[in-house]
Symmetry: C2
Subunit: 349 residues, 2 copies
């Protein structure tokens, strides 16, 4: 059933935050990762260098070794400053393209604007997949998303990088385990690589932003019962709040899941806006959603990264006391509880 077998290029960045896309794909992608390409760690396996990912993929130092392991696609899994690509990465990309391998790229700079790559891909039949490239036929929002037969769940964040994609994927898994047919709706580059499709909504022309979200929910698998829409940004991050709101309106959710990092009190990028109290953030999201369809925040997915189990438990308890709704950390066994809250919320719609 797999479309491809990934070789994930993280060379020199395997264990750092720049490789967030690689880490997401290693943890969640439907298509198997048969090799990680990093000259520094070649010969090891991923469980040795990053046990928390739950991947045992072998690390190799050359594209030839990755191909010998069955790789059919090369993923640029690292966000480099300004989309810069080192020369030896480009050599690997050219080698992959000449061998007919698919090359997937989540960077802002597109492979399909590199004439040499495009010409060589045309010769070999290789596919160049610019994950952030958006469809050209996105319509304006019209409200059709209100009429899709599926129930729609949206993850919304108190900030960027709090775990909206992870929460969405874990909720889908938890829902599937209860026998509910759930589909993950990807709206960012890592999610799209994991799902095999989606729209990078932050690349859409502003006028068509909520239209893009509507297009995604209207185009979902008709056999799915619940769509879980990956949120973007946060309403208190002024660089991205417009994206957050357009995505929320366009996807017309029935239920919201608030995603938060325990003890984060301000956004982590300039201008370092202070976050309002959680109870106000819940109210503002519910009020914003209600413009299209009434939707309650059913639960809080809390990222307790770096906390001891005791501290995490205390953080979750404090949030539950403050808001009166369930809170859980999907990395500490909380997915089932969060899904139950979502399912209960959906039952009332």
């Amino acid at each position: 059933m797999s479309e491809r077998s990934w070789a994930v290029l993280t060379d020199g960045y395997t264990t750092v935050r720049n490789a967030k896309t690689a880490h997401g794909v290693l943890r969640y992608a439907r298509d198997p990762v048969v090799a990680v390409l990093d000259r520094e760690h070649g010969g090891k396996t991923m469980d040795v260098v990053m046990p928390e990912l739950g991947s045992t993929a072998p690390i190799v130092a050359s594209l030839g070794d990755a191909r010998a392991l069955g790789a059919t696609a090369l993923l640029l899994g690292v966000a480099t400053p300004g989309g810069w690509v080192p020369d030896h990465w480009r050599e690997w990309m050219l080698e992959a393209v000449d061998a007919g391998m698919e090359v997937a790229n989540g960077l802002h700079r597109f492979l399909t604007e590199d004439d040499d790559l495009v010409a060589r891909a045309a010769r070999s039949g290789a596919r160049l997949w610019d994950v952030r490239r958006v469809p050209e036929d996105i319509p304006l929002f019209t409200g059709k998303s209100l009429e899709v037969p599926q129930k729609i769940v949206a993850t919304v964040g108190t900030d960027c990088a709090v775990g909206k994609m992870t929460a969405s994927l874990e909720l889908v898994d938890a829902g599937q385990q209860t026998g509910t047919r759930c589909e993950f709706i990807a709206t960012g580059q890592t999610g799209i690589l994991i799902a095999g499709g989606g729209i990078a909504v932050d690349r859409v022309i502003s006028d068509f932003l909520s239209g893009a979200a509507e297009m995604l929910v209207c185009g979902a698998d008709p056999s799915a019962e619940v769509l879980v829409v990956e949120g973007q940004g946060g309403l208190w991050h002024p660089a991205y709040a417009g994206v957050t709101l357009g995505l929320l309106h366009g996807s017309a959710p029935h239920v919201l899941v608030l995603c938060h990092q325990a003890y984060r009190t301000a956004i982590e990028e300039p201008p370092f806006t202070r976050l309002p109290p959680l109870v106000d953030m819940v109210r503002v999201y519910e009020e914003a959603a209600a413009t299209v369809r009434p939707a309650r925040v059913a639960c809080v997915s809390v990222n307790c990264r770096g906390l001891s189990d005791d501290d995490a438990r205390r953080a979750l308890g404090a949030i539950e006391d403050e808001l009166g709704i369930p809170a859980g950390d999907v990395f500490r066994g909380g997915s089932g509880k969060l899904w139950d809250a979502v399912a209960a919320g959906l039952a009332h719609t």
Copy 2:
């Protein structure tokens, strides 16, 4: 001082809403309109066919007649369905380009993507100005707009097409009349044509939306004391609310002016969302602005189109009673009162 003398093409649409851009330019543009191009009304003057615009521009039936009146630039002043351009308009455009006239276009479809026009413009030296084309170097929002020396006023709407651009322009005029150096910051195609520059923020890639607004306020005339930022959309119009919020955050206003049409209770396009009470809309805008900088709604610019003077007075009175802030209609002498409220609001910042 004028850069150009306009011939405004409204052929067949002169008096209808499709010609909104032409009407805005006729009423407010700094550069003079020396002719309106419409075969139906050729020989009349604009004060005969649309007295409310306050323009006496002659209407002509050919581009030659417009040129004889001194026109140096041709404006496509009509929004046609899908950006479609009738054959005889294209003939006029080609004739203008061959004569070295500038051609300005506010449609989504760009002149600069028409190879024939581009080639002929290159030969004659004519400028093709696609007003909606946005700069390619828009940065991400960083918060620099918080540091500009000018005071910033933003118009925000309860819906689209309630008069945000008009209110902004009238406030600039009213401010100038009190001796305050005001600059109009254009964010939509008509405003850009009137001001001679700006960014059509709804055409910006979502990720850079608030960065575009920041770029506009950071790039304003340093000698201006007050910047009046033209708002877009409305937070209760789900097709455009993301644009509204990104623009609001990026421009970091000190004071807001709420723009509303008297008695409008729902947005006028699908999905015809009901508007919340005015008091809630004021609160939501103030709360949204506060993410970047605290800003109060100083007054309400009310569009009383179609109401008798008595009914308009009653509508304004009811809004003042409801909100406890001044309300005025700029078309019925209200600009000075609104400006006074803005100036008082700015004095507290």
